[in-house]
């Protein structure tokens, strides 16, 4: 039983058709003690089917600690969104509802390699001299 309805899948396919370069989702998961890992795996598999330029690469968190550490991942389920480079975009948790939409946005931005931000915003970010980390807390609805 798919998670995405046929109409949602069609909309996602249309959105992903706008990808201009390949994106890889490094997905970290584990089999035990993780209620949302399996549904996360399923929705990512469905997502990868909908975009020719989108791939999902599964990593076992407990067996691939070094790889996880490389991406700064310390919990599961987790996704690193990787394009021509690693822009430092991560998702923790089952990507459903609002988080799913954010993931789609991130995939498209990374694929284009362009933030789409206003000129003033770009100027402010260009002037950044020290690291800026953002943790955005969301819920599915």
């Amino acid at each position: 039983m798919p998670i995405l309805s046929p109409s949602d899948a069609a909309r996602v396919r249309d959105m992903l058709a706008g990808m201009t370069s390949p994106v890889r989702l490094a997905f970290f998961t584990q089999t035990l003690n993780c209620e949302t890992c399996e549904p996360a795996k399923q929705i990512l598999a469905e997502l990868a089917e909908l975009g020719d330029q989108l791939t999902v690469e599964e990593h076992h968190y407990l067996l691939e600690r070094e790889e996880a550490a490389k991406f700064g991942i310390d919990r599961v389920p987790a996704i690193a969104v990787l394009g021509a480079q690693d822009y430092g975009i991560r998702f923790f948790g089952m990507p459903s509802g609002y988080e799913f939409m954010s993931l789609l946005d991130a995939i498209l931005l990374v694929s284009k390699g362009d933030s789409g931000l206003l000129e003033g915003s770009r100027a402010m970010l260009a002037a950044l001299e020290s690291p800026l980390t953002l943790q955005v807390f969301v819920t599915p609805t």
Binding site: Y87, R90, G93
Partner: protein, 63 residues
């Protein structure tokens, strides 16, 4: 923002799944953004306002 600047990293956290992080950062409503582990931005804000606040926080705090 992360796509725009190599100094920016962005993590989206499903609040329902990580009560430890919700407690640590005292999340009582969403969306809530935590900048460099310290400064909070509550709710959705206009782009320029959000970025000005975040960049301002980063220039005075290191993560």
């Amino acid at each position: 923002m992360a796509v725009e600047s190599s100094k920016v990293t962005s993590t989206v956290v499903g609040a329902n799944e990580y009560p430890d992080l919700v407690r640590k950062y005292q999340v009582s409503g969403v969306p809530k953004t935590v900048v460099n582990d310290r400064v909070e931005i509550l709710g959705a804000r206009p782009e320029d306002d959000f970025i000005r606040t975040a960049v301002g926080a980063a220039s005075t705090l290191t993560p």
